[in-house]
């Protein structure tokens, strides 16, 4: 009964944070919402605008356009869909954490950090393809974990991975990883063919939707089209060549460097300053300038990572660490800086570590009060800053579009 009460309380909190105020034009309208208003109603193709809704997310978010004509009402109901998806994300996180962390108190602590995660809160307030891609991926992972014991779930896991693939550009790499993992887990068994078939269906659909696929690859793998790297490698080689060390230049500076640049960018995504503090300037965040996790969680995260090797078996702890590592890959494949939006996948393994770290702390009752005070202050300060940042970014950036959408489409 206590567990049910605690769960309910957490979900009510989450709903209030995400739902209020939903339709108020106080926030302005995001770029994705403008694309949605402007975009076509063809459900299985991409629009021709620069900001494209992939087929699955277009399908999900276009329903209000079928029944409504008023622009603001369309946006409001599309946001209701996002809010619902945000709550579904939390429910799926809860179910997933229950599978991984046997102790219910750890599950609640982990969930708590996600409920109050600024990035997830605001992801639930606006129409965003990522708001759909995220729960689809979580569902896929949850089904995959279940599929370790019952292979049928792996097929469903594949299906949801495939749907995630076509919902958000950021979901490309995680969904591909999950797709391959599902096949790998059934290798050597008869069910392998079923999983492989599901995978091929998505491959076919991938090539069928040429425009979507092109957009998907272009948006998710921007890193490799950075011209600066090639110029830099050639320049470094040229400097050695000037000194007469032609062969050395070729050996030391070649396209293999892309792997080192990429590795550097991958580790950059895990910069504690970007995750827990202020994001580096000119970051690719579409949201705000504070990190996705509250600073007050920092010591618990570090503690949780270290304690995880005591809590889990070495193998499980290593797998969790690997999952955290893999979760940062989508962000590292974008431009060479911290990408807050794509880093969202890493918040879930981080929450698990936080659950472990916080549970150890809560055994020392004297310090709980201090933590609650710090958490409240941190959350208020962060929320306030986010509100100001977002208003400034969204309003200023989309001032023209905002006005044209409101005035031109108001019916």
């Amino acid at each position: 009964m206590d567990k049910i009460k605690t769960s309910l309380l957490i979900f009510i909190f989450a709903f209030i944070l995400r739902g209020v105020p939903l339709g108020s034009p106080l926030w302005g309208i995001s770029q994705d919402e403008i694309s949605l208003i402007r975009g076509t109603t063809q459900l299985f193709s991409c629009t021709n605008e620069g900001d494209c809704f992939l087929p699955v997310s277009l399908f999900f978010f276009s329903w209000p356009k079928i029944f409504l004509t008023n622009t603001l009402q369309i946006i409001l109901w599309a946001r209701v869909i996002t809010l619902t998806l945000g709550m579904v994300t939390l429910i799926l996180s809860y179910l997933l954490f229950k599978k991984i962390l046997k102790d219910s108190s750890l599950v609640f602590f982990a969930l708590f950090t996600l409920v109050f995660c600024p990035q997830l809160v605001f992801l639930s307030k606006f129409v965003s393809p990522l708001a759909l891609g995220l729960p689809l991926l979580l569902l896929s992972i949850y089904l995959m974990v279940k599929g370790l014991h019952y292979w049928q779930y792996l097929v469903f896991s594949q299906i949801f991975s495939g749907l995630a693939l076509f919902s958000s550009a950021y979901a490309l790499v995680p969904s591909l990883i999950l797709l391959f993992l599902s096949i790998f887990l059934t290798l050597g068994k008869k069910k392998f063919i079923i999983c492989l078939s599901a995978f091929f269906i998505f491959l076919v659909w991938f090539f069928f939707n040429k425009y979507s696929s092109f957009f998907l690859i272009k948006r998710s793998l921007v890193f490799f089209s950075e011209p600066g790297f090639i110029n830099a490698i050639n320049s470094s080689r040229g400097i050695l060549r000037e000194g007469g060390h032609f062969l050395l230049g070729k050996i030391l500076y070649n396209k293999l460097y892309f792997s080192i640049f990429w590795l550097s960018n991958l580790f950059r995504q895990y910069s504690l300053a970007n995750i827990f503090s202020l994001i580096e300037d000119s970051g690719n965040s579409t949201l705000f300038t504070v990190g996705p996790m509250l600073i007050v969680w920092f010591p618990f995260f570090v503690w949780g990572v270290l304690e995880s090797f005591k809590y889990f078996s070495f193998k499980k702890a290593a797998i969790l660490l690997l999952v955290l590592f893999l979760a940062g890959i989508p962000a590292s494949l974008l431009s060479p800086r911290f990408n807050q939006d794509a880093f969202v996948f890493a918040l879930f393994p981080m929450a698990i570590y936080l659950g472990i770290g916080l549970s150890g702390f809560f055994k020392k009752r004297g310090a709980i009060f201090i933590l609650i005070m710090l958490f409240t202050l941190n959350f208020l300060i962060t929320t306030f800053k986010v509100v100001l940042d977002f208003k400034q970014n969204v309003r200023l950036k989309n001032q023209k579009n905002y006005l044209s959408v409101i005035k031109g489409n108001f019916r």
Binding site: I239, G243, L248, L252, L263, S271
Partner: protein, 548 residues
Amino acid sequence: MKKGKPNIILLLITFLSFALRFWKLASFPVSLNIDEVVIGYDSYSILKTAKDQWGSFLPLAFQSIGDYKAPVLIYLMVPAIKIFGLNEFGIRFTVAFFGSLTPLLIFFLADYFFKRKEIALIASFLLAISPWHIHYSRATFEAILALFFFLSGVTIFCRSIPLKGKFWWLSGIFFCLSLYTYHAERIFIPLFLVVLLLVYFKEIRKNFKNVLVALIISFIILLPLASIMLSPQGQTRAKSVFFTNDYELRVVKFGEIEKRGGISFFEKILNGKPVATVSFLLKRYLEYSDISYLFFKGMNYTPDKFPAIGLMYLFELPFFLLGIFKLTQKSLTKDKIFLAFGWLLLGPIPSALSNNSQHSLRSLTLIPIPQFLSALGLFTFFNWFLNLNIAENLKKIFYFLCSLLLLSSFIYYFDLYYVQFPYHYSHYLMYGLKEVALYAWEHHNEYEQVIIDPDFGLEGKNITGIPFAYLLVYGREDPRVVQAGKSPYEFENFSYRPVYWPEDQKLKNSLLVASFWQLSPEEVPAEQIVKVVKLYNGKPMFYLVKTK
């Protein structure tokens, strides 16, 4: 390990350390930087007259260029300048020497920590080849000397514990020397001593007599320092580099807050300047844990997106992470784990409080711990590998590949430091000012005045040099002459101000020295350009122009 073998290996490591720091010391870095010339000249002045360039007798804070430098390095440089002369080698010798000896200290400290000679040797070797440490050892940075004294203090303190604190008084002296050597230590060491006190409280309480002796001696030594730090001159440096002067905070962040204007009380509490300041500080602090900075690009030898190197070699990364893991698995006693983590947490504080992001010089006190962690990781890995049940030939191939990886890391580092870095950034190293100074000295009697514009740069006039110091050093001007003048800037017929060709071309029989921003070859007649001084990469930087 056989008895005597560690000593031989340690000797070889020390030899390697000396080799890496002294090889072509006079030529690389390619130019003396601002601090090197002023420190060098002050040291020369002490040698000749026992006074600094401003005429102060044996000062404890050198006025220098208004930044009141710490004294220890300047005094310690006197013998080297006496023997080798006032030149690049003479100026750089002292720091390179103490930097070369630091791996020895690391060995003794690591031996105390891990009680295994193998790990201590690996840690010592890693420091000997560390890009982070080599870079600053070769360019007369006080931080290297301060680190040497600090490590001496810590090593003596730790090794005195089984001796009931017999040599803690000596440890105290070294800590005090470190405080006199570099400003960052004045923040770090007091905090570190608190950690020492907490970790070794029982031992300190048991041997309080020896602690008292150390405290009394340290107190006497530090009295003059306290009076300097409390004086306006002593606070100049601290005030100028304090984080509140940081452009990003003062102008950008506070500017945003002020632009909003008319903010409510609620906003002031939740998003005003105090919150902005704390957020900014936290960000600066956390930046020092950035793996990308530590292992990929921390040394800033090349521009953004260019191949780069971190403070540590990339091959150390997996072992560094393994070392962190091993440390938490109680591979050391509790007191040592706390000491290591305390050191790691405190290390970035002095640099976080300054007005630069990710400043590898000011966080130099951190350097032993990452090396310890990498050494622990390396030892753990190779210990495990040695005991693997695989063919000996396979092991030999693996060792060969590891050696190849180490060698290629070296070669890569060498290229970045000796080739790429001077090519890209010689202007930031003040390259060209030596040539300007030598020419100006040679020909200054031919002119009524020699006017040198201190501002130059490739992207714009974003670098301010101190040409007077280069003239002093390369002209070996008599310190008595300099001291007799109103200031060190005024000697002979040299003056330093912005050059403006449309007006200055009217001056009679003068030599104007400025960068192409002020003396553009398109404006200045070719016959009046007497010399063009180029940067290391061949790009013209300084134009020496005579007026009619």
